[in-house]
Amino acid sequence: MATNPKVAIAGVGEARGGRATGKTTVQLYAEAFLDLLGDCPIDPASIDGVLTSSPDAEPHHMFSTWLTEYLGLRPKFTSAVQMGGATPHSNMALAAALVESGRCGAVMVADGDNRATKFSRKDKIQAMSSQVGHLSSIEPPHEFDGPYGPTAPALYGMMATRHMYEYGSTPEQFARIAVAFRAHGAPNDGGCGARGAKKGRGHRRKPVTVEDVLASPMIAWPLHRDECALISDWGTAILVTTPEYASELRRDPVYLLGLGQAHQGYNPYQAPSITSFPISESADDAFAAAGISRDEVDVLELYDSFTSTAMVTLENMGFCGAGEGGAFVEAGYIDLGGSLPTNTHGGLLSYNGGHGHFIVEATRQLRGECGERQVAGAKIAVSQGTAALASSSITLVLGT
């Protein structure tokens, strides 16, 4: 294991998301910020880096600078990043570089959007497309796919179709992933859906069976509704700082032990394969940097925009071989109680469609705060972000 971590997470926060009727995007960011201040007693004047997403539902010019004004912060460094579902992971990498280089002492990685309540039904379907950038548009630069009616479920559906063709995986095996994450999300009334918000609203907290998943409406064959990410309102905030400062703020900081990134492009039809992605490279780099092997991972939080994303990610990360994902999930390895408890909060399929919760959950698991979904004695947690089908991959290895 890396003996000398240089970057730590001193605190995490979540807005009361899910279906947050009446709240604006920046308000969700503010809620997450306040929750973070409750988690970690930092003087806000000490936050000298602010990294955000570029929200879709309520876009704002220079969003991160506006957020600093809204929150009353005055950082040395700020930027609004656009890396799809891997945006918080990308910002974690930037925050780590800022802290490690000494350019910043305490960086807030914030994320949020208003997709549940500020998108119309039509917008939601388009947003599901634009999560991977494919608006149905005939205008450049979308003229080579937009006119064919792509949606995000269709693109990830093609991923599943190809996986079934190459490896003989089955709809039941894909559905089994949703079953696992729904079981994990069922007892989780954490930040999203509980405190203040109506319990479970906007969330899929009812446990399901493989049969239930396959009986849910078809969205884009072979993917059913219960295999597609929630469209949510959310806000998350993570404080990244030096191990020394983190230890002053909390008795149980979490350390960034390893980090890897790989990016091969954007459009699915340009990817060399739609079942094998550079996830393997980012994972190899992150595990090597952390000095750990895969069997040392206690908790895995991976980007599960669709069941196909999760299947391919498990394989590409090397937790099982190519084509072995189906048997792996059916054997229960990803379940709480399995050898690789995955998406212990419920992930995008059950807990919330927001992108920052994976890192928040990984942190809370390592701090031992997760109640009935706690993985006993968790020492190493991995948070895996993917985007652009899975052509962008960012792997974070966190530890105590």
Binding site: S129, P140, E143, T151, G157, M158, T161, Y165, Y269, I274
Partner: protein, 135 residues
């Protein structure tokens, strides 16, 4: 610039859309490294030589993968569900995003041969589509 109503083209994509008008599937070919590429760019993304030339593709390929869409992204597409989005791997090498037409979605098989056909789509644009070879 408009190649056809509603479709804006630019100096790089013009030959592609001119080909569509004439019922030809045009691909860029790099004279430096021999690679074909789809979509149109001012350089070869493989060897970075400038200004790839244009060649007519055979229009034949295989179905690389597909999905059958039940929830369309716009009223025009919602009106034609279920429709098939697909990635087709062309004989020349590049893959393109398209729809499979003239086929029962349940009869489709990954790897099956497909060939190009030019049609007006749900948004009124003339576009290259693919159908099972021999259909």
């Amino acid at each position: 610039m408009e190649a056809q109503t509603g479709m804006r083209v630019n100096t790089v994509t013009q030959p592609y859309w001119d080909g569509v008008e004439q019922g030809k599937l045009m691909l860029q070919h790099c004279s430096a490294c021999g690679a074909y590429q789809y979509y149109a760019r001012p350089l070869c993304a493989k060897c970075h030589a400038a200004e790839p030339e244009w060649r007519e593709a055979s229009g034949n390929g295989v179905l690389y993968s597909y999905s059958v869409v039940s929830r369309g992204p716009s009223p025009a597409f919602q009106a034609i569900v279920p429709y098939v989005t697909a990635i087709v791997e062309l004989e020349e090498g590049p893959r393109m995003f398209t729809n499979i037409v003239d086929a029962d979605p349940e009869s489709l098989r990954v790897g099956e041969p497909v060939s190009v056909v030019f049609r007006e789509g749900p948004e009124g644009l003339r576009l290259p589509y693919f159908r099972p070879a021999g259909a």
